[in-house]
């Protein structure tokens, strides 16, 4: 590559400043990472790079005359945040505005630049500086003066940009118009898909909020049983009274364990709504307590898990519905994995249940 003298001088300046650029890259990555964590934002990707000498030389060869000095090139250091959804780009940009000093004259929202009948590169580019209030290193004062580029785009926008870059730049010949048209069609399709993903996410979040509020308001019969609703229901601590009563058999304590494994068990037991679980609690809590009393009284065991309440409720329901020992074995196998011992345990519980006239 043959560069003119002016471009060669810019390249020399680049070599001198390379350690500062590398330092900037590390600082920017760290600042962005902390900002995302503090705001509980999950992103699909966060990356930063310093432009390679080859890439800079290529840029200078094409349009070196535009730049008076290296400082006029604002993307020597670049960072990129890739969001999952397109509507998250605006959230990220708002955070970036708070975090960095933005050079608005050189920042571009490519999303707003496309004509209504055009599809293609959609991304938000901010040219920024690291404010001294945010990070300062007295040994590297240039760190707060040099500008860098921050790109923000969704995952699908990133896919399109990468593919377009690969196809467009690797090709030695000009791409024929029909292939360009195909790329544009793909851009339109991805833009639509991006919008749909955001829409679906909003709908699901809306559904979750509605269901959570139905659970909180006690409209249990209207709430279908699924993983989300069961989790919300558990927050109401529906089995606490029974668990406390069982623990009190030996003046003991309740250890809080995870009840989510019971979600699938309850589904298999034909529970359709949260209301079905509430009915099971109301109808069978006393029998479940009696069964636990028979097992724990006199043992001195003064610690039980929270799940022991649901376990005994399930046992009672199985026995009341007439599924017998086989039903109990299926329950234990589903909870703990298949084990020959479960037959003995089922038989013992079955006999205990007969003793207290449960069956």
């Amino acid at each position: 590559m043959k560069l003119d003298m002016h471009s060669e001088m810019i390249l020399d300046e680049y070599h001198e400043k390379l350690p500062v650029y590398e330092k900037m890259k590390t600082v920017i990555l760290r600042l962005l990472q902390s900002c995302l964590e503090e705001n509980h934002i999950l992103v699909s990707g966060l990356e930063a790079r310093v432009k390679t000498e080859q890439s800079l030389a290529g840029k200078l060869e094409l349009k070196g005359f535009k730049y008076r000095s290296l400082d006029d090139i604002t993307d020597v250091v670049g960072a990129r945040i890739i969001t999952f959804y397109s509507d998250e780009v605006d959230i990220i940009s708002a955070l970036a505005e708070k975090l960095f000093e933005i050079d608005w004259d050189n920042s571009v929202d490519k999303r707003k630049m496309l004509e209504i009948d055009r599809f293609g590169y959609l991304s938000l580019h901010y040219v920024c500086r690291i404010p001294e209030a945010l990070y300062k290193d007295p040994e590297v004062p240039q760190l707060n003066k040099i500008r860098f580029e921050l790109q923000m785009r969704s995952t699908l926008q990133h896919v399109w940009a990468n593919m377009y870059h690969d196809i467009g730049y690797k090709s030695d010949v000009e791409i024929p118009i029909e292939y360009q048209r195909n790329m544009t069609r793909l851009a339109g399709m991805l833009e639509l898909a991006d919008e749909q993903f955001s829409h679906i996410r909003k709908e699901i979040n809306g559904y979750r909020r509605t269901v959570q509020s139905m659970v909180a308001n006690g409209n249990f019969n209207e709430v279908p049983l699924n993983g989300d609703t069961f989790r919300s229901f558990l927050k109401l601590r529906p089995f606490k009274k029974l668990a406390d009563k069982i623990a009190a058999i030996n003046q003991g304590e309740v250890y809080e364990d995870n009840l989510m494994p019971y979600y699938k068990i309850l589904l298999h037991m034909n529970m359709k709504t949260i209301g079905d679980i509430v009915r099971m609690c109301n109808e069978y809590s006393e029998s479940a307590y009696q069964l636990a009393l028979l097992q724990l009284a006199g043992t001195g065991l003064d610690i039980v898990t929270y799940s022991v309440a649901v376990l005994n409720l399930c046992i009672v329901l199985i026995l009341k519905k007439g599924y017998g020992e086989a039903g109990l074995v299926r329950l234990f196998d589903a909870l703990y994995g298949e084990n020959d011992y479960h037959k003995q345990r089922a038989h013992r519980i079955y006999e205990q249940a007969k003793k207290i006239n449960m069956i």
Binding site: N250, G252, Y255, D257, N258, P261, A292, Q295, L296, T299, G300, L301, D302, I303, V304, T305, Y306, S307, V308, L311, L335, Y336, G337, N339, Y341, Q344, R345, R348
Partner: protein, 100 residues
């Protein structure tokens, strides 16, 4: 109660013999304390000759389990006799501890 602890490559093998109750639970906790730190992340406990555990014993198993979970480790209790298994079942501990 007797306890034997052996480390073989990445795995720690523990053999329990006898009963864990109020008379020896403190000692049991001291014996397993080294397993609650360091690189003991995969613990296999043979309960073939364990004859009983009281709630004090259950609490030690719970401490060990919590310590391992916080370090992304795992613990398995195996060959438990039906009497000991019953203690884990009726207290609900079978829901939190892996027994094979």
């Amino acid at each position: 109660m007797d306890i034997t602890i052996n480390k073989l490559e990445q795995k720690t093998y523990v053999v329990l013999d006898g009963r864990v109750d109020s008379t020896n639970a403190d000692q049991f906790q001291k014996d397993v304390a080294p397993l609650m730190e360091g690189e003991n992340l995969d613990i296999d406990i043979d309960c073939t000759n364990m004859t009983y555990t009281s709630s004090q014993g259950l609490r030690v198993f719970l401490l060990l389990q919590k310590s391992l979970m916080s370090r992304n480790g795992k613990m398995v209790l195996r060959n438990m006799n039906p009497r000991v298994k019953e203690v884990f079942d009726i207290t609900g501990f079978s829901n939190i501890i892996t027994i094979v």
